[in-house]
C-alpha cells in the first residue's frame, strides 16, 4: 500500500503517470515529425494539406495525437497545481486549506482539456 495517494491524479500511481507522460510524448514527437516532414517535402498548399490530413490513417494518427496531448497536459497541469496551489503558498488567506482552490483549478483544467479534445475530434473527422 503506497504511503501517499491522490485520487485526482490521472494514472493514480506516480509510476503510471511517469510512463504515460513519456509514451504520450513519444506519440506527440512522432506526430510532430510527421507534420514537419509534410511541410519539408510536399508542395504545400491548402488543398495538399487538407488532402494529407483527410486520409483515414492520418485522421486516426491526429486523433491519437489529440488524446496524447490531453493526457500529457492533464498529468502536467495536475503536477503544477499540486506543487503550487498549496496552503503554505498563500499563508492564512485560504482559511487553512488550498483544497477548494485546487479543486476549482483542476476542474477548469479538465473542462478545458475535454472541450479542446472534443472540438479537435470534430474538426479531424469533419463532424461539425
Amino acid at each position: 500500500m503506497a504511503l501517499v495517494t491522490n485520487v485526482t491524479s490521472f494514472g493514480r500511481t506516480g509510476l503510471s503517470d511517469f510512463v504515460l507522460q513519456r509514451v504520450t510524448a513519444l506519440v506527440l514527437g512522432a506526430y510532430g515529425l510527421c507534420i514537419v516532414g509534410f511541410f519539408a517535402v510536399a508542395d504545400v498548399s491548402h488543398a495538399s494539406l487538407a488532402a494529407f490530413l483527410a486520409g483515414t490513417a492520418m485522421r486516426w494518427f491526429s486523433t491519437a495525437a489529440v488524446v496524447a496531448l490531453g493526457v500529457h497536459a492533464w498529468i502536467g497541469m495536475w503536477t503544477v497545481g499540486t506543487d503550487y496551489i498549496r496552503q503554505h503558498a498563500f499563508g492564512a488567506g485560504l482559511g487553512g486549506s488550498a483544497f477548494g482552490l485546487r479543486l476549482i483549478y483542476q476542474f477548469g483544467c479538465v473542462a478545458a482539456i475535454v472541450v479542446y479534445m472534443a472540438w479537435s475530434v470534430t474538426i479531424i473527422w469533419g463532424l461539425a
Binding site: M1, A2, L3, V4, T5, N6, S9, R12, T13, G14, L15, D17, F18, V19, T79, T82, D83, Y84, R86, A89
Partner: protein, 234 residues
C-alpha cells in the same frame, strides 16, 4: 569583513531581518565560514546556530551561505564570499526556530518513512550476514550521507510538498537499502514509493547534487529507484 546574518527571535521579533556584523579576519589565513560565525558570536553572543564536530561529519551546521546550501565548517570563506561579503541564512523551506536553527522534523519524518534500516526476516547466522565485495561496492556513494539536509532543503519539490515528497536525502537512503543484497524487503519498499509524490515529484533539476557537501548524487539514486519500479511493474 561584513557578515550579514539572518536573525529571528520568536519571543521578540515579528519578522526576521538581516543583521550586519563586522568581523576582523586574521591576515594570511583562509577561515571556514563556521570560524567567521564564531567570531561574529564573540561580538554578539545572542546569535544562535547549531554546530558540533567542525569537520563535516556531524552535519549540524548546514546553512544557506551566500545563496548556496552547505556546511559552514568545511566551506572556506575565500570560496563562499567571492564578492567580499558573507550572507548567512537558515536552510530554506524548513520552519525557523531561531536565527540559523531550523526545525528539521519534516526532514526526519521523511527519512523515517523509508525505513532506513536493514530488513531481513531470515534467522540471523551465527556470526554475520555476509556480503560479497561486489555487492558491498554497490553501497558506495549511498551510505556516506550525514543527513545535514543541505540537499532536501535546496529542492523546490521538497519546499512545495515536504509532507509528501520524500526528498533527495531520504531517497538516497531508500536506495541504499534497495541496493543492499542483505535486505529482503525490496517489494514492500518499492510499493511504498510508487505513488505520485514520494519519488516521482523529483523533476531531476539536480540542486541536490549541487548542494551535497559530501559530493553524493541523490538524482542518480532516484533514477535507479524509478528503474526498479519500472522493472518491477513490467
Amino acid at each position: 569583513m561584513k557578515v550579514s546574518i539572518y536573525r529571528f527571535d520568536p519571543d521578540a521579533d515579528e519578522k526576521a531581518h538581516l543583521q550586519d556584523v563586522e568581523v576582523e579576519l586574521p591576515e594570511g589565513r583562509d577561515l571556514m565560514v563556521l570560524d567567521v560565525l564564531e567570531l561574529a558570536k564573540s561580538r554578539d553572543p545572542s546569535i544562535a546556530y547549531r554546530r558540533s564536530c567542525r569537520e563535516g561529519v556531524c552535519g549540524s551546521d548546514g546553512m544557506n551561505i551566500n545563496g548556496k546550501n552547505g556546511l559552514a565548517c568545511i566551506t572556506p570563506v575565500s570560496e563562499a564570499a567571492r564578492g567580499g561579503k558573507l550572507v548567512l541564512r537558515p536552510l530554506p523551506g524548513l520552519p525557523v526556530i531561531r536565527d540559523l536553527v531550523v526545525d528539521m522534523s519534516a526532514f526526519f519524518r521523511q527519512y523515517e518513512r523509508v525505513k532506513p534500516y536493514l530488513i531481513n526476516d531470515a534467522p540471523p547466522p551465527a556470526e554475520e550476514r555476509l556480503q560479497s565485495p561486489e555487492d558491498r561496492a554497490k553501497l558506495d556513494g549511498l551510505y556516506e550521507c550525514i543527513l545535514c539536509a543541505c540537499c532536501s532543503t535546496s529542492c523546490p519539490s521538497f519546499w512545495w510538498n515536504p509532507d509528501k515528497f520524500v526528498g533527495p536525502a531520504g531517497l538516497l537512503q531508500a536506495y541504499r537499502f534497495l541496493a543492499d543484497s542483505r535486505d529482503t524487503a525490496t517489494e514492500e519498499r518499492l510499493a511504498d514509493l510508487e505513488d505520485p509524490f514520494s519519488v516521482f515529484r523529483c523533476r531531476g533539476i539536480m540542486n541536490c547534487v549541487n548542494a551535497c557537501p559530501r559530493g553524493l548524487n541523490p538524482t542518480r539514486a532516484i533514477g535507479k529507484i524509478r528503474s526498479m519500479l519500472l522493472t518491477e511493474a513490467t
